[in-house]
Symmetry: C2
């Protein structure tokens, strides 16, 4: 079953990175929102509702943003699905447009992390997996070891994900990191959870991204005549290690998220031209692409090392730089992926443009689907 | 513009109150959910998605609940609008049913407060209103003083809200408090922010409430033939003192929330048979009822003292006991209001039944709409 698509009238973001305390969550969100509204040519009065995705912003963060933006009075809602929060806000907005509730919706994903997180994001006190040492980095390290053992993949092939994504974001002025890194740098970085080192891990980041989504009536309200990129559908599935086979790399949750994506969008997997993938760790990009069925099982590491997922390759993954190099302000990531896909589908992505991109998939994962607590995966399918 | 109604197939809640630490947020939510699923005759496999409203549960609380409930794998999303979080989850579910995304949705509102809040809920560190002493109780105390000055209302008339709501919940086995209180007890209670005392304030509570919402196809899936209570529409507006006239009791946000309610539901204000009102403080029930236009401006206090808003009166308000006496586990409140309206519309509310109730309104407010930060108001209109 498919719903009506959401039309992307405008997008905007601020450069991801580390901002001082006086650059508040609200200020970042307002900055991204103004970019998106300007891109859409949308006055504030044209906006029917504000959907905000964030994790650590505290109660009614969206309402604080609305007040500073000048949208006070509008319907405002806050959506949280950990690192999939921005994508979940996009999903709820897509549903609200399809239902006919609104015609012009502003979606903002935002997170201010650097003034509250030191080192990595700490697990919740009640997380029993974490209490026995199974923190996020450890889970992905186990995944990497298992992948290497099962498929004869090498450490170097896994590290190639970081090299590729950093090479991509050299061309992304909104990325936290904009310089290339070498394979030796990845291999020689400080160990975090072996075999993974610091450059296999996405950074702690601040940032905001915003998208103006419209129904056809909303496009007319904004005076937009020509075709614009569309969100065809947004899948959402949850899972934990208990819902799968127990094999960390079976990626049952990714398989089901992919099935949702193809069903909701009407797009077949072999029609996808590029992917914005939740590469919170290098190995995660590999196993998730395989779980989706977009890369042959067990070949993801070799594909990466062979350049098949790089710009110019068979299926470019993370032309933006991904979480590893664009940065990962958790609530903002899902919205930033849609911003990137929009630029790619418009053909305005400059040095990181995927030639002739007609369709794209954005994938987010929030929570610990490899633990027993559970998490969610979102899949956004877009077309120009 | 109206959307298709959501049909209430089943409801459930646990008694609100103070639970020990081992009664976790997840356990409370699962308890309420099982009640609602049992009431609907719905097996877990019939549920298409889980929408969870909470404020303090931490990231992916809904996914943790899903894993413990046996709904792991389903689409799960978390919705936060402070004290309107449960109602916001109801709203998003209503929209998803209207869009045709799902046919059977489980909505849970839940909060575990007593093991993390001592005294009252503390303001956020960045709340500049609170930093100068304008905390929530102070705002409502100012509202009460202004109301008394403007309308010649007495302290006793305002206190009558607490006496009435506690009298109602003597008949509510799910209420935190189930014994009557006297006017003298309210007047003699420990001062919190004069003229308001302890019994003018809603308590810190733990609790969970759940609702199974269906499309017509969903009702058929569950084998439900006869008519069931319906959610006709859910309004959502935001505001701050800056969006109104600057008069604390003008309740511009309530006026706009009411207009949304009538527009989305097609029900006229004079057709409402009972109200579940967000009486976080006694005075709040009075000014919000007036803001909605359901009680004549300036007469709410006298109406209360004269019994017009009591069971058997012209327009019963809070037959459940409201936040003051049923309790106020913040994320659960909006869902609990819909549970109460469902019981009332089914005619099964026992000693607190509103005779012949055909329609009802539930109102929640989240965040500080009387401050500069902003908050939201939800309005749920139901009919049998």
């Amino acid at each position: 079953m498919t719903l009506a698509p959401a039309h992307v009238a405008g997008v905007g973001m601020i450069r991801f990175g580390k901002y001082p305390a006086e650059v508040t969550l609200e200020r970042m969100a307002v900055g991204a929102a103004r970019e998106a509204l300007g891109d859409a040519g949308a006055p504030l009065a044209a906006v029917d509702g504000l959907y905000v995705g964030h994790v650590f912003g505290g109660p009614v963060a969206g309402q604080r943003i609305a007040a500073q933006l000048g949208l006070d009075g509008s319907p405002v809602s806050n959506h949280e699905n950990y690192c999939a929060s921005g994508a979940t806000a996009i999903r709820e907005a897509w549903v609200a447009l399809a239902a006919g509730l609104h015609d012009v919706i502003l979606v903002i994903g935002v997170e201010k992390m650097t003034d509250r997180v030191s080192g990595g994001v700490r697990p919740d006190p009640g997380d029993l997996d974490a209490a026995v040492g199974y923190v996020m980095a450890a889970g992905h390290a186990l995944s990497a070891r298992r992948y290497m053992a099962d498929h004869g993949a090498t450490r170097e092939q896994i590290a190639a994900v970081a090299v590729k994504n950093h090479a991509h974001s050299v061309h992304n002025p909104y990325a936290q990191y904009q310089k290339p890194i070498s394979l030796d740098e990845v291999l020689g970085a400080r160990p975090i959870a072996e075999p993974l080192g610091l450059l296999d891990c996405s950074p702690i980041s601040d940032g905001a991204a915003a998208v103006v989504l419209c129904s056809p009536a909303g496009l007319r309200r904004l005076g937009i005549g020509g075709p614009v990129p569309r969100v065809l559908g947004v899948g959402l599935v949850s899972g934990s290690v208990l819902t799968g086979t127990g094999n960390l790399n079976a990626e049952d949750v990714s398989r089901r998220a992919g099935e949702e994506a193809w069903k909701l969008s009407g797009v077949a997997p072999d029609e996808i031209d590029l992917v914005e993938m939740h590469d919170c760790f290098t190995i995660a990009e590999i196993v998730r692409m395989e779980g989706l069925g977009l890369v042959p099982h067990g070949q993801g590491a070799a594909w990466t090392a062979d350049g098949h997922t790089a710009l110019g390759g068979r299926l470019p993954v993370n032309p933006s730089g991904g979480l590893l190099s664009r940065g990962h302000p958790v609530g903002a990531t899902g919205a930033a992926q849609v911003v990137e896909l929009t630029w790619q589908l418009r053909g305005v992505a400059g040095g990181r443009q995927v030639d002739g991109a007609r369709t794209g998939l954005a994938y987010c994962k929030g929570g610990t689907v490899n633990g027993t607590d559970g998490g969610s995966v979102t899949t956004v399918v877009m077309a120009r």
